[in-house]
Protein backbone atom coordinates (compact mmCIF):
# COMPACT_ATOMS: atom_id res chain seq x y z
CA UNK A 1 0.00 0.00 0.00
CA UNK A 2 1.23 3.46 -0.66
CA UNK A 3 -0.17 6.87 0.06
CA UNK A 4 -0.92 7.65 -3.57
CA UNK A 5 -3.87 5.24 -3.28
CA UNK A 6 -5.63 7.55 -0.80
CA UNK A 7 -8.70 9.53 -1.89
CA UNK A 8 -10.00 10.26 -5.38
CA UNK A 9 -6.68 11.76 -6.48
CA UNK A 10 -3.66 11.80 -4.18
CA UNK A 11 -1.16 14.63 -4.52
CA UNK A 12 1.31 12.98 -2.13
CA UNK A 13 3.18 9.77 -2.84
CA UNK A 14 5.63 9.43 0.04
CA UNK A 15 4.87 10.10 3.71
CA UNK A 16 6.00 8.56 6.96
CA UNK A 17 2.29 8.28 7.84
CA UNK A 18 1.50 5.92 4.97
CA UNK A 19 0.40 3.21 7.42
CA UNK A 20 -2.79 5.33 7.54
CA UNK A 21 -3.78 3.78 4.19
CA UNK A 22 -3.17 0.23 5.41
CA UNK A 23 -5.20 0.87 8.57
CA UNK A 24 -7.96 2.40 6.45
CA UNK A 25 -8.07 -0.74 4.33
CA UNK A 26 -8.56 -2.67 7.58
CA UNK A 27 -11.59 -0.46 8.12
CA UNK A 28 -9.95 1.81 10.71
CA UNK A 29 -9.75 5.57 10.38
CA UNK A 30 -6.73 6.44 12.49
CA UNK A 31 -4.82 9.34 13.94
CA UNK A 32 -1.51 9.41 15.74
CA UNK A 33 -0.77 9.94 19.42
CA UNK A 34 2.63 11.05 20.69
CA UNK A 35 4.28 8.34 22.79
CA UNK A 36 6.19 10.97 24.72
CA UNK A 37 3.60 13.63 25.63
CA UNK A 38 0.27 12.06 24.66
CA UNK A 39 -0.76 14.76 22.14
CA UNK A 40 -3.33 13.41 19.66
CA UNK A 41 -3.35 14.32 15.99
CA UNK A 42 -5.78 14.02 13.14
CA UNK A 43 -4.83 14.12 10.35
CA UNK A 44 -1.97 11.91 11.58
CA UNK A 45 1.50 13.38 11.97
CA UNK A 46 4.85 11.65 12.31
CA UNK A 47 6.35 14.49 14.36
CA UNK A 48 5.03 16.01 17.56
CA UNK A 49 4.89 19.81 17.37
CA UNK A 50 4.52 20.03 21.18
CA UNK A 51 7.50 17.97 22.44
CA UNK A 52 9.40 17.35 19.15
CA UNK A 53 9.26 13.55 19.54
CA UNK A 54 9.08 11.40 16.42
CA UNK A 55 7.66 8.35 18.18
CA UNK A 56 3.98 7.87 17.55
CA UNK A 57 1.29 5.28 18.15
CA UNK A 58 -1.86 4.92 16.08
CA UNK A 59 -5.34 5.27 17.55
CA UNK A 60 -8.71 4.54 15.99
CA UNK A 61 -11.48 7.08 15.47
CA UNK A 62 -14.82 5.37 15.95
CA UNK A 63 -17.27 8.09 16.86
CA UNK A 64 -20.03 8.74 16.50
CA UNK A 65 -19.01 12.30 15.77
CA UNK A 66 -21.08 15.40 15.29
CA UNK A 67 -21.20 17.35 12.03
CA UNK A 68 -20.02 20.95 12.50
CA UNK A 69 -20.32 22.32 8.97
CA UNK A 70 -20.73 21.11 5.40
CA UNK A 71 -21.27 22.10 1.79
CA UNK A 72 -22.40 20.48 -1.43
CA UNK A 73 -20.10 21.21 -4.35
CA UNK A 74 -22.00 21.66 -7.63
CA UNK A 75 -18.81 22.36 -9.52
CA UNK A 76 -15.45 20.63 -9.17
CA UNK A 77 -11.77 21.27 -9.62
CA UNK A 78 -10.00 19.53 -12.51
CA UNK A 79 -10.02 15.75 -12.10
CA UNK A 80 -13.11 15.56 -9.86
CA UNK A 81 -15.82 16.58 -12.36
CA UNK A 82 -17.39 13.10 -12.58
CA UNK A 83 -18.24 13.14 -8.85
CA UNK A 84 -20.40 16.29 -8.94
CA UNK A 85 -22.46 16.94 -6.89
CA UNK A 86 -20.62 15.83 -3.77
CA UNK A 87 -20.66 17.03 -0.20
CA UNK A 88 -17.76 17.85 2.09
CA UNK A 89 -17.94 18.37 5.80
CA UNK A 90 -16.10 18.54 9.07
CA UNK A 91 -17.14 16.72 12.23
CA UNK A 92 -16.00 16.68 15.83
CA UNK A 93 -15.27 13.23 17.29
CA UNK A 94 -15.29 12.14 20.95
CA UNK A 95 -11.70 10.93 20.54
CA UNK A 96 -10.78 14.64 20.73
CA UNK A 97 -10.15 15.32 17.06
CA UNK A 98 -11.97 16.87 14.11
CA UNK A 99 -12.26 14.99 10.82
CA UNK A 100 -12.69 16.57 7.39
CA UNK A 101 -13.89 14.53 4.42
CA UNK A 102 -16.58 13.67 1.91
CA UNK A 103 -20.09 13.02 3.19
CA UNK A 104 -21.91 9.81 2.23
CA UNK A 105 -24.24 10.56 -0.71
CA UNK A 106 -26.94 8.45 0.96
CA UNK A 107 -27.52 11.14 3.61
CA UNK A 108 -30.77 12.85 2.50
CA UNK A 109 -30.41 16.61 1.90
CA UNK A 110 -33.02 17.40 4.53
CA UNK A 111 -30.97 15.56 7.15
CA UNK A 112 -27.80 17.53 6.42
CA UNK A 113 -27.50 19.82 9.40
CA UNK A 114 -24.95 20.85 11.98
CA UNK A 115 -25.28 18.44 14.89
CA UNK A 116 -26.02 15.39 12.71
CA UNK A 117 -24.46 12.30 14.31
CA UNK A 118 -21.95 10.75 11.92
CA UNK A 119 -19.79 7.67 11.74
CA UNK A 120 -16.81 6.82 9.60
CA UNK A 121 -17.41 4.73 6.49
CA UNK A 122 -14.43 3.33 4.61
CA UNK A 123 -14.85 3.39 0.84
CA UNK A 124 -12.74 1.19 -1.43
CA UNK A 125 -12.79 1.20 -5.20
CA UNK A 126 -11.99 -1.64 -7.57
CA UNK A 127 -8.79 0.06 -8.68
CA UNK A 128 -7.24 -0.28 -5.25
CA UNK A 129 -8.08 3.22 -4.11
CA UNK A 130 -9.26 3.71 -0.55
CA UNK A 131 -10.92 6.67 1.14
CA UNK A 132 -13.34 7.45 3.91
CA UNK A 133 -16.67 9.25 4.16
CA UNK A 134 -18.77 10.58 6.98
CA UNK A 135 -22.07 8.71 7.04
CA UNK A 136 -25.22 9.13 9.17
CA UNK A 137 -24.70 7.24 12.47
Amino acid sequence: MSFDQFGVISFTSATKTEKFVELLQDNRLSGTVCKSCGAKFFPPRSDCSFCLSDEMDWFGIDGPGELISYTTAMYAPAGFEKDVPYSLGVAEFPEGVKVFGRLDKSIPDDQLKAGLKVKVKVVSSGEGRVSYELSAA
Partner: protein
Protein backbone atom coordinates in the same frame (compact mmCIF):
# COMPACT_ATOMS: atom_id res chain seq x y z
CA UNK B 1 9.51 52.24 15.79
CA UNK B 2 10.58 54.51 12.93
CA UNK B 3 7.79 55.99 10.83
CA UNK B 4 7.28 54.57 7.34
CA UNK B 5 5.08 56.09 4.64
CA UNK B 6 3.46 55.02 1.41
CA UNK B 7 4.55 57.67 -1.12
CA UNK B 8 3.18 56.17 -4.32
CA UNK B 9 0.48 53.69 -5.36
CA UNK B 10 -0.56 52.20 -8.67
CA UNK B 11 -2.43 49.36 -10.28
CA UNK B 12 -3.22 47.98 -13.70
CA UNK B 13 -6.78 47.57 -14.79
CA UNK B 14 -7.97 44.15 -13.56
CA UNK B 15 -9.07 42.23 -16.66
CA UNK B 16 -10.27 38.78 -17.67
CA UNK B 17 -7.33 38.12 -19.93
CA UNK B 18 -4.34 40.44 -20.14
CA UNK B 19 -2.92 40.59 -23.67
CA UNK B 20 0.72 40.51 -22.65
CA UNK B 21 3.30 38.75 -20.49
CA UNK B 22 3.70 38.94 -16.71
CA UNK B 23 6.58 41.41 -16.96
CA UNK B 24 4.44 43.74 -19.08
CA UNK B 25 1.50 43.33 -16.71
CA UNK B 26 3.77 44.21 -13.77
CA UNK B 27 5.09 47.27 -15.57
CA UNK B 28 1.58 48.76 -15.79
CA UNK B 29 1.23 49.06 -12.01
CA UNK B 30 4.89 50.05 -11.61
CA UNK B 31 4.59 52.92 -14.11
CA UNK B 32 1.40 54.11 -12.39
CA UNK B 33 3.02 54.09 -8.92
CA UNK B 34 6.28 55.70 -10.10
CA UNK B 35 4.36 58.55 -11.75
CA UNK B 36 2.27 58.88 -8.61
CA UNK B 37 5.40 59.11 -6.42
CA UNK B 38 7.23 61.26 -8.94
CA UNK B 39 10.50 59.36 -8.54
CA UNK B 40 12.95 57.56 -10.84
CA UNK B 41 14.02 53.89 -10.74
CA UNK B 42 17.48 54.89 -9.43
CA UNK B 43 15.85 56.18 -6.24
CA UNK B 44 14.53 52.73 -5.30
CA UNK B 45 16.87 50.94 -2.89
CA UNK B 46 15.21 47.51 -2.93
CA UNK B 47 12.12 45.72 -4.22
CA UNK B 48 9.69 43.12 -2.89
CA UNK B 49 7.88 41.04 -5.53
CA UNK B 50 4.68 39.23 -4.54
CA UNK B 51 2.61 36.56 -6.28
CA UNK B 52 1.35 33.00 -5.96
CA UNK B 53 3.85 31.09 -8.07
CA UNK B 54 1.73 28.18 -9.31
CA UNK B 55 0.13 30.16 -12.14
CA UNK B 56 3.34 31.03 -13.96
CA UNK B 57 5.85 29.08 -15.96
CA UNK B 58 8.46 31.61 -14.83
CA UNK B 59 10.44 30.50 -11.80
CA UNK B 60 11.91 33.05 -9.38
CA UNK B 61 9.90 36.02 -10.70
CA UNK B 62 11.65 38.57 -8.47
CA UNK B 63 14.79 38.33 -10.59
CA UNK B 64 12.79 38.84 -13.77
CA UNK B 65 10.88 41.83 -12.37
CA UNK B 66 14.00 43.52 -10.96
CA UNK B 67 15.48 43.43 -14.45
CA UNK B 68 12.37 44.44 -16.42
CA UNK B 69 11.45 47.29 -14.06
CA UNK B 70 15.00 48.66 -14.24
CA UNK B 71 15.86 47.91 -10.61
CA UNK B 72 19.16 46.05 -11.08
CA UNK B 73 21.55 45.94 -9.28
CA UNK B 74 19.53 46.62 -6.09
CA UNK B 75 18.37 43.79 -3.80
CA UNK B 76 15.03 42.12 -4.45
CA UNK B 77 12.91 39.72 -2.37
CA UNK B 78 10.11 37.33 -3.32
CA UNK B 79 7.22 37.10 -0.85
CA UNK B 80 4.29 34.70 -1.04
CA UNK B 81 1.23 34.14 1.15
CA UNK B 82 -1.23 33.26 -1.66
CA UNK B 83 -4.07 35.80 -1.74
CA UNK B 84 -2.43 38.09 0.84
CA UNK B 85 1.01 38.06 -0.77
CA UNK B 86 1.25 41.79 -1.34
CA UNK B 87 0.15 42.63 2.23
CA UNK B 88 2.88 40.29 3.44
CA UNK B 89 5.10 42.19 1.00
CA UNK B 90 4.07 45.45 2.67
CA UNK B 91 5.06 44.01 6.04
CA UNK B 92 8.43 42.88 4.64
CA UNK B 93 9.09 46.27 3.03
CA UNK B 94 8.06 48.07 6.23
CA UNK B 95 10.64 46.06 8.17
CA UNK B 96 13.32 46.82 5.59
CA UNK B 97 12.66 50.57 5.87
CA UNK B 98 11.98 50.77 9.62
CA UNK B 99 15.23 48.90 10.33
CA UNK B 100 17.16 51.52 8.40
CA UNK B 101 18.49 48.94 5.95
CA UNK B 102 16.83 50.66 2.97
CA UNK B 103 15.20 54.10 2.56
CA UNK B 104 12.89 53.57 -0.42
CA UNK B 105 11.37 50.14 -1.15
CA UNK B 106 8.96 49.18 -3.91
CA UNK B 107 6.35 46.42 -3.43
CA UNK B 108 4.93 44.88 -6.56
CA UNK B 109 2.12 42.29 -6.66
CA UNK B 110 1.01 40.57 -9.83
CA UNK B 111 -0.94 37.59 -11.11
CA UNK B 112 -1.82 36.41 -14.58
CA UNK B 113 -4.45 33.73 -14.06
CA UNK B 114 -5.93 33.59 -17.55
CA UNK B 115 -3.53 31.10 -19.08
CA UNK B 116 -5.30 28.15 -17.44
CA UNK B 117 -8.97 27.12 -17.29
CA UNK B 118 -11.23 27.91 -14.35
CA UNK B 119 -11.36 24.22 -13.29
CA UNK B 120 -7.56 23.99 -13.46
CA UNK B 121 -7.29 27.21 -11.54
CA UNK B 122 -9.63 25.84 -8.84
CA UNK B 123 -7.50 22.71 -8.63
CA UNK B 124 -4.35 24.81 -8.18
CA UNK B 125 -6.06 27.10 -5.70
CA UNK B 126 -7.32 24.03 -3.84
CA UNK B 127 -3.67 23.11 -3.48
CA UNK B 128 -3.33 26.33 -1.48
CA UNK B 129 -4.89 24.24 1.28
CA UNK B 130 -3.71 20.86 2.66
CA UNK B 131 -2.79 18.73 -0.37
CA UNK B 132 -1.99 15.59 1.61
CA UNK B 133 -5.18 15.26 3.65
CA UNK B 134 -7.84 17.43 1.96
CA UNK B 135 -7.21 17.88 -1.76
CA UNK B 136 -7.75 14.11 -2.40
CA UNK B 137 -11.48 14.74 -1.67
CA UNK B 138 -11.84 17.38 -4.41
CA UNK B 139 -11.55 20.59 -2.43
CA UNK B 140 -11.73 24.09 -3.88
CA UNK B 141 -11.87 27.59 -2.44
CA UNK B 142 -15.66 28.08 -2.87
CA UNK B 143 -16.31 24.82 -0.98
CA UNK B 144 -14.07 25.81 1.91
CA UNK B 145 -15.64 29.26 2.26
CA UNK B 146 -19.07 27.64 1.84
CA UNK B 147 -18.41 25.63 5.01
CA UNK B 148 -17.76 28.91 6.80
CA UNK B 149 -20.98 30.33 5.35
CA UNK B 150 -22.93 27.31 6.59
CA UNK B 151 -21.21 27.58 9.97
CA UNK B 152 -22.17 31.27 10.18
CA UNK B 153 -25.78 30.57 9.12
CA UNK B 154 -26.18 27.79 11.70
CA UNK B 155 -24.64 29.77 14.55
CA UNK B 156 -26.09 33.23 13.91
CA UNK B 157 -29.07 32.85 11.61
CA UNK B 158 -27.42 34.71 8.75
CA UNK B 159 -29.16 34.06 5.41
CA UNK B 160 -28.34 33.76 1.73
CA UNK B 161 -30.11 37.08 1.24
CA UNK B 162 -27.79 38.77 3.76
CA UNK B 163 -24.85 37.60 1.67
CA UNK B 164 -26.59 38.76 -1.50
CA UNK B 165 -26.91 42.27 0.00
CA UNK B 166 -23.11 42.38 0.21
CA UNK B 167 -22.92 41.66 -3.51
CA UNK B 168 -25.50 44.37 -4.23
CA UNK B 169 -23.23 46.84 -2.43
CA UNK B 170 -20.19 45.55 -4.26
CA UNK B 171 -21.79 46.01 -7.66
CA UNK B 172 -22.91 49.52 -6.73
CA UNK B 173 -19.24 50.50 -6.49
CA UNK B 174 -17.89 48.18 -9.17
CA UNK B 175 -19.92 50.21 -11.66
CA UNK B 176 -17.92 53.37 -10.83
CA UNK B 177 -14.45 51.75 -10.61
CA UNK B 178 -12.74 51.91 -13.99
CA UNK B 179 -10.10 49.39 -12.84
CA UNK B 180 -12.70 46.71 -12.03
CA UNK B 181 -13.30 43.62 -14.18
CA UNK B 182 -17.00 43.38 -13.29
CA UNK B 183 -18.80 46.68 -13.85
CA UNK B 184 -22.38 45.55 -14.36
CA UNK B 185 -25.08 46.59 -11.93
CA UNK B 186 -26.66 43.63 -10.11
CA UNK B 187 -29.98 43.52 -8.29
CA UNK B 188 -31.00 41.24 -5.45
CA UNK B 189 -33.21 39.08 -7.69
CA UNK B 190 -30.36 38.36 -10.10
CA UNK B 191 -27.90 37.59 -7.30
CA UNK B 192 -30.40 35.23 -5.64
CA UNK B 193 -30.82 33.07 -8.76
CA UNK B 194 -30.09 29.52 -7.54
CA UNK B 195 -26.86 28.99 -9.48
CA UNK B 196 -25.03 27.18 -6.72
CA UNK B 197 -21.26 26.68 -6.86
CA UNK B 198 -20.92 25.15 -3.40
CA UNK B 199 -24.02 25.46 -1.22
CA UNK B 200 -24.98 27.94 0.14
CA UNK B 201 -22.67 30.02 -2.09
CA UNK B 202 -24.02 30.92 -5.51
CA UNK B 203 -22.33 32.33 -8.56
CA UNK B 204 -22.52 35.97 -7.46
CA UNK B 205 -21.22 35.16 -3.98
CA UNK B 206 -17.87 34.41 -5.61
CA UNK B 207 -15.31 36.82 -7.02
CA UNK B 208 -13.90 36.28 -10.48
CA UNK B 209 -10.35 35.36 -11.38
CA UNK B 210 -8.57 38.23 -13.09
CA UNK B 211 -5.20 39.31 -14.38
CA UNK B 212 -3.72 42.33 -12.71
CA UNK B 213 -0.86 44.05 -10.94
CA UNK B 214 -0.47 46.52 -8.08
CA UNK B 215 2.43 48.57 -6.81
CA UNK B 216 3.28 50.67 -3.75
CA UNK B 217 6.37 52.65 -2.87
CA UNK B 218 7.40 52.93 0.76
CA UNK B 219 9.83 55.45 2.21
CA UNK B 220 11.42 56.39 5.50
CA UNK B 221 10.04 59.47 7.24
CA UNK B 222 12.91 61.65 6.09
CA UNK B 223 12.63 60.53 2.46
CA UNK B 224 8.84 60.72 2.54
CA UNK B 225 8.84 64.34 3.73
CA UNK B 226 11.44 65.17 1.10
CA UNK B 227 9.75 63.40 -1.84
CA UNK B 228 6.02 63.51 -1.16
CA UNK B 229 3.43 66.22 -0.51
CA UNK B 230 0.83 63.83 0.91
CA UNK B 231 2.49 60.77 2.44
CA UNK B 232 0.16 58.10 3.84
CA UNK B 233 1.58 56.71 7.08
CA UNK B 234 1.66 53.07 8.07
CA UNK B 235 0.27 53.09 11.61
CA UNK B 236 -0.35 49.46 12.44
CA UNK B 237 0.55 46.10 10.91
CA UNK B 238 -0.93 42.88 12.26
CA UNK B 239 -0.31 39.44 10.87
CA UNK B 240 -1.34 36.03 12.14
CA UNK B 241 -1.56 32.46 10.91
CA UNK B 242 -3.95 29.55 11.55
CA UNK B 243 -3.85 25.80 10.80
CA UNK B 244 -3.99 25.05 7.08
CA UNK B 245 -6.14 21.96 7.75
CA UNK B 246 -9.87 22.39 8.48
CA UNK B 247 -9.55 19.76 11.23
CA UNK B 248 -7.33 22.24 13.06
CA UNK B 249 -9.91 25.06 13.06
CA UNK B 250 -11.83 25.80 16.24
CA UNK B 251 -14.83 27.52 14.68
CA UNK B 252 -16.48 27.86 11.28
CA UNK B 253 -18.09 31.24 11.86
CA UNK B 254 -15.07 33.54 11.77
CA UNK B 255 -11.38 33.52 10.86
CA UNK B 256 -9.03 33.33 13.82
CA UNK B 257 -6.08 34.68 11.81
CA UNK B 258 -8.10 37.80 10.93
CA UNK B 259 -9.24 38.37 14.51
CA UNK B 260 -5.69 38.17 15.79
CA UNK B 261 -4.18 40.19 12.95
CA UNK B 262 -6.80 42.88 13.59
CA UNK B 263 -6.07 42.94 17.32
CA UNK B 264 -2.34 43.26 16.66
CA UNK B 265 -2.80 46.03 14.10
CA UNK B 266 -5.13 48.02 16.41
CA UNK B 267 -2.66 47.64 19.28
CA UNK B 268 0.27 48.83 17.21
CA UNK B 269 -1.75 51.81 15.94
CA UNK B 270 -3.13 52.56 19.40
CA UNK B 271 -6.69 52.77 18.07
CA UNK B 272 -9.83 50.64 17.86
CA UNK B 273 -12.43 49.67 15.28
CA UNK B 274 -14.53 52.79 15.98
CA UNK B 275 -11.66 54.98 14.79
CA UNK B 276 -11.65 53.53 11.26
CA UNK B 277 -13.13 55.87 8.62
CA UNK B 278 -12.83 53.57 5.60
CA UNK B 279 -11.95 49.90 5.15
CA UNK B 280 -11.02 47.49 2.41
CA UNK B 281 -11.72 43.87 3.37
CA UNK B 282 -10.93 40.61 1.62
CA UNK B 283 -14.30 39.72 0.02
CA UNK B 284 -13.17 36.80 -2.16
CA UNK B 285 -16.65 35.51 -1.26
CA UNK B 286 -19.56 37.44 0.23
CA UNK B 287 -19.28 35.38 3.44
CA UNK B 288 -15.68 36.55 3.77
CA UNK B 289 -16.83 40.18 3.98
CA UNK B 290 -19.55 39.23 6.48
CA UNK B 291 -16.98 37.53 8.72
CA UNK B 292 -14.57 40.46 8.29
CA UNK B 293 -17.18 42.87 9.78
CA UNK B 294 -17.15 40.73 12.92
CA UNK B 295 -13.50 39.65 12.98
CA UNK B 296 -12.40 43.31 12.78
CA UNK B 297 -14.84 44.50 15.44
CA UNK B 298 -17.03 46.63 13.14
CA UNK B 299 -19.90 44.51 14.50
CA UNK B 300 -20.27 42.07 17.38
CA UNK B 301 -20.01 38.38 16.40
CA UNK B 302 -23.27 37.43 14.67
CA UNK B 303 -24.30 41.07 14.11
CA UNK B 304 -22.54 41.56 10.77
CA UNK B 305 -25.85 41.01 9.01
CA UNK B 306 -27.31 44.10 10.74
CA UNK B 307 -24.50 46.23 9.27
CA UNK B 308 -25.32 45.26 5.69
CA UNK B 309 -29.09 45.24 6.19
CA UNK B 310 -28.86 48.81 7.50
CA UNK B 311 -26.42 49.84 4.77
CA UNK B 312 -23.87 50.87 7.41
CA UNK B 313 -21.02 49.70 5.17
CA UNK B 314 -22.08 51.85 2.22
CA UNK B 315 -20.15 55.07 1.50
CA UNK B 316 -22.66 57.11 3.49
CA UNK B 317 -22.79 54.63 6.37
CA UNK B 318 -21.05 54.40 9.75
CA UNK B 319 -18.14 52.31 8.44
CA UNK B 320 -17.75 52.29 4.64
CA UNK B 321 -16.31 48.96 3.42
CA UNK B 322 -15.07 48.11 -0.08
CA UNK B 323 -16.38 51.24 -1.72
CA UNK B 324 -14.18 50.40 -4.74
CA UNK B 325 -16.26 47.25 -5.39
CA UNK B 326 -13.94 44.92 -3.49
CA UNK B 327 -12.61 41.68 -4.89
CA UNK B 328 -16.15 40.69 -5.89
CA UNK B 329 -16.29 43.44 -8.51
CA UNK B 330 -12.66 44.32 -9.11
CA UNK B 331 -11.65 40.68 -9.61
CA UNK B 332 -8.98 38.86 -7.64
CA UNK B 333 -5.54 38.56 -9.24
CA UNK B 334 -4.13 36.77 -6.19
CA UNK B 335 -0.72 38.41 -5.78
CA UNK B 336 -1.97 41.88 -6.75
CA UNK B 337 -5.04 42.06 -4.50
CA UNK B 338 -3.49 43.37 -1.27
CA UNK B 339 -1.66 46.15 -3.09
CA UNK B 340 -4.86 47.14 -4.86
CA UNK B 341 -6.71 47.34 -1.52
CA UNK B 342 -3.90 49.46 -0.07
CA UNK B 343 -3.98 51.72 -3.14
CA UNK B 344 -7.70 52.34 -2.63
CA UNK B 345 -7.17 53.25 1.02
CA UNK B 346 -4.18 55.49 0.22
CA UNK B 347 -6.26 57.37 -2.38
CA UNK B 348 -9.09 57.72 0.16
CA UNK B 349 -6.74 59.16 2.79
CA UNK B 350 -5.32 61.64 0.29
CA UNK B 351 -8.84 62.68 -0.73
CA UNK B 352 -8.11 61.49 -4.27
CA UNK B 353 -10.62 58.64 -4.63
CA UNK B 354 -12.93 60.54 -6.98
CA UNK B 355 -16.49 59.27 -7.13
CA UNK B 356 -15.63 56.63 -4.49
CA UNK B 357 -14.34 59.20 -1.98
CA UNK B 358 -15.52 58.85 1.61
CA UNK B 359 -15.70 62.45 2.91
CA UNK B 360 -13.00 63.36 5.40
CA UNK B 361 -11.41 59.89 5.65
CA UNK B 362 -8.40 60.13 7.98
CA UNK B 363 -7.76 56.55 9.09
CA UNK B 364 -8.11 53.51 6.81
CA UNK B 365 -7.81 49.76 7.29
CA UNK B 366 -6.93 46.92 4.91
CA UNK B 367 -7.84 43.29 5.70
CA UNK B 368 -6.24 40.78 3.33
CA UNK B 369 -6.53 37.02 3.85
CA UNK B 370 -4.38 34.27 2.32
CA UNK B 371 -5.98 30.91 1.58
CA UNK B 372 -9.01 29.96 3.66
CA UNK B 373 -7.74 31.87 6.69
CA UNK B 374 -4.21 30.48 6.70
CA UNK B 375 -2.65 33.95 6.63
CA UNK B 376 -4.30 37.11 7.97
CA UNK B 377 -2.88 40.57 7.35
CA UNK B 378 -4.50 43.72 8.73
CA UNK B 379 -2.84 47.06 7.99
CA UNK B 380 -3.83 50.49 9.28
CA UNK B 381 -2.93 53.76 7.58
CA UNK B 382 -3.44 57.43 8.39
CA UNK B 383 -3.31 60.70 6.51
CA UNK B 384 -1.05 62.35 9.09
Amino acid sequence: MAKVAVIGVGQSAFVRSYPGSIRELAFEAFRDAMKDAGIKSQQIDASVICSAPEYDKQRTPAGLMAEYLGLNPQPTFYVESVCSSSSSGLRTAYALVASGLHDVVMVLGFQKMSEISSAESQERMGRGADIQWEAPFGTMMPAYYAMYARGHFEKYGTTEEDLALIRVKSSTYGVINDKAVFRKSLDLEKIMEPKYIATPLKMYDCCANADGSSCMILASEEKARDLCAKPVWIRGLGMATAPINMAGRDTFSGLKCAQLAGKRAYEMAGIGPKDIDVAEVHDCFTIAEMMAYEDLGFAEPGKGKELIRNKETYKEGRIPVNVDGGLLSKGHPIGATGGSQIRTVALQLRGAAGEMQVPNAKIGLVHNIGGVGIYGNVSIFSAD
